[in-house]
């Protein structure tokens, strides 16, 4: 039983069921890659066992000094990545509204021109020699996190004849139980490409799409240095074990 940097006793209740109508379905034909990669049979549903209630722990000791600074973590000494400097920050919460401490967040993105440092990306926008595109951090006791980066550019992609991804940052999130595992994308307030994107369009609810759009947060900017966007991430919450027979009470 490892420590998670928190003196709260671990919660062991099962997770709220996932709202599959709120998530995009597996089969979203306007996003062509999903057509042959989407399971077609019904999922097998069951209440969490220990295999889903438990999950790995990542300690702050694994983090390097520049892990949460994409402007510098791939740059040559004394140089920095090109682009609009931004801070992305927020809290990881569960569905009951509690901050979730000790959450490993990993993020990746294109550079300011919309180009990924990946051999599969052939977009004509240039690589930035000082930008790798990955970073990570672990949430504090109240679930808060922050990192520094450049705003990624939008880019065209081979789906329809003229489809463009809105500017976005990918997030991978580890909660306390493996059933909370989530990968999603953060979009930027005011980007008109959000509502034209076939990947975003797999989500049917407008409110669900808006839950992925970070707001410009002037209170967290650094004058003459960086703009800020606030992005809160909500993970599945645990059922409180009300009236179940637990000798220690609820």
């Amino acid at each position: 039983m490892a420590e998670r940097g928190s003196n709260r006793s671990p919660e062991t209740g099962a997770f709220f069921q996932r709202d599959r109508q709120w998530h995009p379905p597996a089969f979203t034909p306007n996003y062509k890659s999903s057509v042959l990669r989407s399971p077609q049979k019904a999922l097998l549903s069951f209440d969490n066992t220990l295999s889903e209630l438990t999950g790995p722990v990542f300690g702050h000791a694994m983090l390097g000094e520049l892990d949460n600074d994409l402007i510098h973590n791939f740059a040559k000494a004394g140089e920095s990545a090109i682009g609009e400097r931004i801070i992305v920050h927020g809290r990881v919460l569960d569905e009951r509204g509690s901050g979730v401490p000790g959450v490993l967040l990993e993020f990746w993105q294109a550079n300011a021109g919309g180009r990924y440092r990946h051999k599969k990306d052939g977009y004509l926008a240039p690589l930035d020699p000082n930008f790798g595109g990955c970073g990570r951090t672990i949430t504090g006791e109240d679930g808060s996190y922050a990192f520094r980066t450049v705003r990624p550019g939008p880019y065209p992609w081979p789906n329809g004849p003229n489809d463009w991804r809105p500017a976005h940052i990918h997030f991978s999130v580890f909660g306390h139980g493996f059933a909370q595992r989530l990968i999603t994308q953060m979009y930027f307030e005011g980007d008109p490409l959000i509502w034209r994107c076939p990947i975003v369009g797999g989500i049917s609810s407008k409110a669900a799409v808006e839950a992925l759009i970070a707001a410009l947060d002037m209170h967290s900017t650094i004058p003459m240095d960086a703009l800020a966007y606030k992005f809160d991430i909500v993970l599945r919450g645990r059922r409180s074990t009300l009236f179940e027979n637990r000798p220690e009470g609820n």
Partner: protein, 204 residues
């Protein structure tokens, strides 16, 4: 109108996309110098207790073509059936085994290889023992919500026959979709995303 239940909504999932390696296995895709090693790439050290085994996993699309841009994570108990997790209330797991691994599928062959140990049995909610198993989580371009399933072991016939999760599968001919075949110390497992042999995926 009644009072609001005042709960938040989980953030909707979005695909990990074709460049998932940049974020989760940067060294694998040539982005060196940011992290010393890719997280989850080595599950064992010399002190880890348990029988060494390999898992050789592929993920096949609806045409039977292996995915070459997928990423798989596994989560498992230690050799004694204990999870290395704060939510594990039954005792302390092997300190030399985190139980979590992450590997990309090979960009040429689509094969994903985990070097690990055989897990012990973990109790189901009612105390019955589940068969030794690995939780699998699969993401890739074209997968909108990470896919959750399990890998069971072909040489655990008796335990598999009494496993409560395998027992819930209505169409019995689909049970083998969750069972990896033992070949020496390697278990070979194909995940089928679609078709007659579609793997049983979970909502839990």
């Amino acid at each position: 109108m009644a009072q609001s239940l005042d709960r938040l909504k989980e953030r909707p999932s979005q695909t990990a996309g074709p460049y998932v390696h940049i974020g989760l296995t940067p060294n694998f895709c040539g982005i060196g110098g940011v992290y010393a090693s890719d997280l989850g790439s080595a599950m064992l050290n010399g002190e880890t207790k348990g029988d060494r085994i390999d898992l050789r996993i592929r993920v096949l699309d609806g045409t039977g073509t292996p995915l070459k841009d997928a990423l798989i994570e596994i989560w498992q108990a230690d050799a004694n059936g204990l999870y290395n997790s704060p939510a594990e209330m039954r005792g302390a797991a092997d300190p030399n085994f985190q139980g979590w691994g992450r590997q990309p599928t090979d960009m040429e062959t689509g094969v994903c290889l985990f070097r690990t140990i055989k897990p012990g049995r973990v109790p189901f909610r009612d105390g019955r023992l589940m068969a030794p198993h690995f939780t699998l989580w699969i993401v890739a371009r074209g997968i909108n919500v990470g896919l959750h399933t399990r890998l069971y072991l072909s040489d655990e016939e008796k335990a598999n026959a009494e496993d409560p999760i395998l027992g819930r599968i209505e169409h019995r001919l689909r049970v083998p979709t969750l069972i990896a075949e033992r070949q020496g110390d390697t278990y070979v497992f194909d995940v089928h995303l679609q078709g007659e042999k579609e793997t049983v995926f979970f909502d839990s």
